[in-house]
Symmetry: C2
Subunit: 600 residues, 2 copies
C-alpha cells in the first residue's frame, strides 16, 4: 500500500470552496490565467512529486547525507528531485512573468509545493529555503546583488539558506557573535560559526547563497545591531561565473531524528582570511529583513506539519478499512467473520481526531495563504494592509498549532496500525519523526507564544486582534442561518468572548509583573489556536451545509457530511479541552513560575 499525496477532493474544496481562488482571475496580476492553468499547474506538481520526490522519501531517511571529508554524499534521487522541480519552473512559480516566473497565486503555488511536501518533506526543504531566500533578495537586496545571484536561484543553479542560529545562541538572536568588518572594496569579512543550518552544504547546486545574520563591528548591542549579509559558498568572477571557494567551511553535519535527507550543518565563516559577505539593505536592519523570510518559513512549517498529519491520516484510514481484526463487542461468536478495524469505535475516534487536526491545520494554512495573497495583490491598498495586519497577528498560531496537533495526529496514525505503525516497513513512524521538528525550527512554541501575547495581540491598540474577531464573527452570523450550525456558532461566539476575557486578565497581570504575566503565554497560544481552528471548522461546516442543500452526488454528499460531522466532533470533543487552560489563565495560576529551581 503506497500513500497517495493529499486528496484531490479536499484540495479542490480548499482552493475553490473554502477559498475562492478562481476569483483571483479578476485581479490584474492573474488576468492571463484560468482555472485550467491552475489545475494543470497542480497536476504537473503532483506528477513531479510522485515521480521524483515520493520515490526516495524512505530511502533518503535510511541513507542520510554524509560528509566524506571532501563533499556531501547524497543519494542521487535528491538531485534528480531538485532538478525536476526547478526545471519545471517552480522555484520561480510565484515570481512575475518579467522575472521569468509563472506569476501564479500563492494558494496555487502552496498547493503545488504541498504535493512535494507530502511526498518527501526532507527533500522539499532545499527548494523551499531557496524560494524564501530568493524572495528576501527580491525585497531587500540591491539591484546589483540581485543581478548577480537571483537568476541562478530562480532557475536552480544556486540554492539558498538562512543562517541565524549559532552554537551558543538559538532563540536569543540578540546575542549572536558572528561579526562583520568592512573591507576596502566595500564588501564585508564575516567571521563566526552558525549551527543547525538546513541545506548549509549539499551536492545539489554549484553554489549556495547563505543569508547570514552578523554584527558589524561597533554596532549597538542586541537586535538593533544585527545586519544581514549575503555570503556565497563560492565567489563569482567578474562575469558572474562561479570562481573560487569563499572562506565558508563545513564544520560538521548534525544527525536529526527525522527530516534526515535535509542536511543540518555547522558552518564556520571566516576561519582563514574572512568570508566575503555583501550587506543586504541598510546596516543594523538585518533582523527586520530576515523576518520576511522567517515569517514565510513559519507559514510553510505550519503547512508542512498539516500535510504530514494529513498523510498519516490518509494512510491509517486506508489501513483501517483493509485490515480485518476482531469483532464488535456485541458479537460473541468466535466463528463469525472478523470486521475491518474501522468498525471498532476507538479506531474511528483516532481517525476523526486526525481528520479534525489535519484538515483543520490545512484550512488554517490555506487561510494564511489567502492573506499573503491579498497582502500582495488585493485591489486596494486598504485591503492589502488589512491582510498584512491579520497575517502578522496569526503567524505564530499558523506555525504552532499544526506543529503540535498534527504531530499528535501522526502519533494516532501509528496507534491505528499498532505494531505495524511502529516499524520502518510502514511509512508512519517516519512521518512522526519528521513532524517532531516542526514545533522546534523557525521558533519554538514558547517563543511564538511570547510573540503572540507580548507583541502581536496588543500591537497598535489591539487593531489586528479586533480585526480577526470581526472576521470570525462574520462566520458566526453566517452559521446562524443554518439550524444545524446554530449550536456551533453559539459555542464559537462564547469562545471568542472567553478569549477576550482571558486576554484582558493577562494584560492586567502583565502590567503588575511582566515576567509573571507572560509565564503562561504558551497556554494562551494554545487556546488562541484552538479557537481559530474552531473558526476554520465552522467555515468548512457552513460550506458543507450549503452544498448539502443543493443536489450533490452520493460521493459529494458523503464528503460534506464528513466535513459536518468532523466540525461537530471538533466543537464537542476538542474545543472543550481549552476550558481548564482558560481557567488557569484567568485566575493567574502561576505554579510553574513559582517553582523554584532547587525544588526540581
Amino acid at each position: 500500500m503506497t500513500n497517495s499525496l493529499l486528496n484531490d477532493r479536499d484540495t479542490e474544496f480548499l482552493l475553490y470552496e473554502f477559498l475562492d481562488t478562481e476569483a483571483l482571475l479578476q485581479r490584474p496580476r492573474y488576468k492571463e490565467h484560468s482555472r485550467e492553468v491552475f489545475d494543470a499547474t497542480l497536476k504537473t506538481a503532483r506528477t513531479i512529486a510522485e515521480k521524483f520526490f515520493a520515490n526516495h522519501n524512505a530511502k533518503g531517511d535510511a541513507n542520510e547525507p554524509n560528509f566524506d571529508g571532501e563533499k556531501i554524499q547524497m543519494i542521487a534521487e535528491t538531485k534528480q528531485s531538485w532538478d525536476a522541480l526547478s526545471e519545471a519552473g517552480f522555484l520561480a512559480g510565484h515570481c512575475n512573468f518579467d522575472e521569468g516566473g509563472m506569476q501564479l497565486p500563492k494558494a496555487i503555488i502552496s498547493t503545488a509545493l504541498g504535493y512535494v511536501s507530502a511526498a518527501n518533506i526532507a527533500s522539499a526543504c532545499y527548494p523551499f529555503l531557496t524560494i524564501a531566500a530568493a524572495n528576501l533578495l527580491r525585497s531587500f537586496a540591491s539591484d546589483s546583488l540581485k543581478a548577480q545571484f537571483l537568476p541562478q536561484m530562480l532557475d536552480g543553479r544556486f540554492a539558498g539558506t538562512m543562517a541565524l542560529t549559532e552554537p551558543d545562541q538559538g532563540s536569543a538572536l540578540a546575542d549572536i557573535r558572528t561579526s562583520a568588518e568592512q573591507a576596502e572594496d566595500g564588501s564585508y569579512r564575516i567571521r563566526g560559526q552558525k549551527m543547525y543550518i538546513s541545506g548549509g552544504d549539499q551536492s545539489l547546486t554549484e553554489n549556495i547563497v547563505h543569508l547570514v545574520l552578523a554584527k558589524i563591528k561597533g554596532a549597538p548591542a542586541g537586535v538593533k545591531g544585527i545586519s544581514l549579509f549575503l555570503v556565497p559558498k563560492m565567489l563569482l568572477d567578474e562575469n558572474g561565473q562561479v570562481a573560487q571557494p569563499n572562506d565558508v567551511k563545513l564544520a560538521g553535519l548534525l544527525h536529526k531524528m527525522g527530516f534526515r535527507n535535509t542536511t543540518s550543518t555547522v558552518l564556520s565563516f571566516g576561519e582563514d582570511q574572512g568570508a566575503v559577505g555583501y550587506l543586504i539593505g541598510e546596516p543594523h536592519q538585518g533582523l527586520k529583513y530576515m523576518f520576511q523570510m522567517m515569517n514565510e518559513a513559519r507559514i510553510s512549517v505550519g503547512a508542512g506539519a498539516s500535510i504530514l498529519g494529513y498523510q498519516g491520516y490518509a494512510y491509517s484510514l486506508q489501513y483501517a478499512k483493509d485490515r480485518p481484526q476482531g469483532r464488535l463487542p456485541s458479537n460473541q461468536d468466535p466463528s463469525a467473520k472478523q470486521v475491518p478495524i474501522i468498525q471498532h469505535a476507538d479506531i474511528r475516534r483516532m481517525l476523526l481526531m486526525q481528520k479534525a487536526y489535519a484538515e483543520g491545520g490545512l484550512g488554517l494554512s490555506m487561510y494564511a495563504t489567502s492573506l499573503y495573497e491579498d497582502q500582495h495583490s488585493a485591489p486596494t491598498e486598504e485591503e492589502s494592509q488589512l491582510a498584512a495586519t491579520l497575517l502578522d497577528l496569526i503567524t505564530p498560531v499558523v506555525k504552532s498549532w499544526p506543529s503540535k496537533y498534527c504531530l499528535k495526529a501522526n502519533e494516532l496514525a501509528i496507534q491505528v496500525l499498532g505494531g505495524a505503525g511502529y516499524i520502518r516497513e510502514f511509512p508512519l513512524e517516519q512521518l512522526y519523526r519528521d513532524n517532531r521538528l516542526n514545533a522546534i525550527h523557525e521558533g519554538t512554541e514558547g517563543i511564538h507564544a511570547l510573540d503572540l501575547l507580548a507583541r502581536k495581540v496588543p500591537s497598535k491598540n489591539f487593531q489586528a486582534y479586533q480585526l480577526l474577531q470581526t472576521e470570525i464573527r462574520k462566520t458566526v452570523l453566517e452559521a446562524r442561518q443554518k439550524e444545524s450550525l446554530v449550536s456551533m456558532a453559539d459555542t464559537l461566539e462564547e469562545s471568542l468572548q472567553k478569549l477576550d476575557e482571558t486576554g484582558m486578565a493577562l494584560f492586567t497581570q502583565l502590567q503588575e509583573d511582566v515576567d509573571r504575566g507572560l509565564s503562561n503565554a504558551t497556554l494562551y497560544l494554545d487556546v488562541f489556536g484552538c479557537i481559530m481552528v474552531a473558526w476554520i471548522w465552522l467555515r468548512q461546516a457552513v460550506i458543507a451545509a450549503n452544498a448539502l442543500e443543493g443536489t450533490t452526488s452520493e460521493e459529494d454528499g458523503n464528503f460534506y457530511r464528513g466535513k459536518l460531522h468532523t466540525a461537530l466532533f471538533y466543537f464537542e470533543w476538542e474545543l472543550p479541552n481549552i476550558q481548564p487552560q482558560i481557567s488557569l489563565l484567568q485566575s493567574g495560576n502561576n505554579l510553574p513560575f513559582d517553582m523554584r529551581v532547587d525544588w526540581f
Copy 2:
C-alpha cells in the same frame, strides 16, 4: 553530559517512604535479609547498569541487530550485558533460595532492574522477557519440563520469549491459526507463523524457550481453544544438553522506530517436519496461563515507560540549569548577562509536567509492585487475595497511563532542548522513539480500555473497584489532617465521586447497546488513570508534608517542597483536563461511534 540513572533520593523515597519496603523484613520470606542487603543489591544492579548497559544504549540503536543469512549479528556489548546481569544472579533475583534465587522482594528487584531499563531499555528486554517466561514455567509447567528448561533460564544459558501475535492476528488472539498436533511421543508438532516476537532470535544464548499460543486440532473456536506450548529453538538430548535445531525458522527481522537493539522477529514454526512443542498445563487453558506473563509484562511496560520519562526529565533538567539563553522579559538590557533557560517560566512548566508524569508514573508502578508483593507474601490469605484483586483491576491503568503521559514527557524533554533535543548527538530523541512502543506492545491503549471498562471494573459486582475507592479514601482522610493538603483531598474525593457517576452512566449505556456503550472506553481509561495518579501524588504529598514538619536538611527540605509543589501542579494543571472527558462520557456523546465509514 551523560544521563545518570534514576535518582538516588527519589529511589530511596519510593522504596522506604512511599512504600514501606523495610517492613517486609518482618515477613518469613525475607527474614534473612536486611536493609543493607537491599541497598547492596541495588548498588550492584546500578553498577552493572552503568558499566554494561548504559555503554551501548546509543550504539545498539545506531547498529541494530541484523541477520546475515545464518545468524543474528549483534554488537558485542549486548551479550556482555546479558552475561553480566545473569552472572550476578538477577535473572533469579525474585526466586527462592532453594531455586538458586536471591529471594528478594518485588520492589527491590523492580528497582534493580529499573536501573537497567534506565540505562538501556532495548538490551534490558532480553532478561525481562526471560524472567517473565521463567515465572510462567514456575507456575504452570510440569516438573519434568521445569527440570529440563528452568535452571538454564535462571542462570542465563537459555532465554525466553512470548509468541502470541501472528501476521493476521494482533489484538484478536481468539483468531490465531497456529496449530498443534499431538505426536506419538506425547509431544506436539507446532505449525504456523508468529510476528513481532521480541528476542525471537538473537546471539546471546545457546537456546531460546518460546512460549507459543496455538490451537490443538479440533479445539473449540475462539479463546477457549487456545493452548500453550513450550517450543525450544534447539531440542535437548536425553542428558538435557542442547542437541539439534528444532523446526523453528527466522522468517525475518522487523525494523522498529526505537527499541532497536531488541530484535523483533517473524518466526516460522514447523515449515518442514513440524516444530516440537511441549504442552504446558492443560489443553485449551493456554490463554489463562499466558495472562500471568502478559500481566507481568504489562506492569513492566508501565514501569519502563515511566523510567524513560524520568530519564528525559533528569537530562532536560540538567540541560536547563546549564544552558544560558536570553533574559527575562523584564530585563530589556541586551548587554546584561544571559540567564540559564530554567529561569524562563515556560521551561519550568515543561519540567514540572515531566516531573508530574514521570514521578507519578513511577509511583503508580511501585504501588503495583507492592500489590504483587502482597499477593505473594502477605501474612494472611485475605490480604493476599485483596492485593491480587486490586492488581488485576489496575493492570490496564498501570500499563497505559505511563505509556501515554511519559511519552508526552519525552516530547517535552526534547522541546526543552530545542534543536539539540532533535538530534542524535543528544540522548533525548532516542528516549522518545523507544517510549513510543509502550502504548502498543502488551496490548494497545484501546484494548486495555475495553478490558478495564467491560471486565475489570464490573467484575464480581464491582468488588475490586470498591476496594480501590476504599484505599484512595484512606489517603483522602490522611490528607485532611494537613491544612495545606485539604484542598487536594477535597478535589480527589470529588473526582472519585465523578468517576462513580461516570461509571454508572456508562453501565447504563452499555446495557442499552453494548457496542455504543463501550465506544468511549479509552476516555474512561484515561480519566481513571488520571484520578489514580492524583491519588499517587496526594500520597507523596502527605509524606512530604509530614517530613517537612520534622527537622530536615536543606536538601531534603527542597526535595519535599518539590514533591508538594508538583502534587499541587498535578491537581491544578493536569487533573482538571479530565473534566471535558467526563462530560462526554456522562452525556453519552458518541460522535466517533456515529461517524460513518464513507464519511471519512
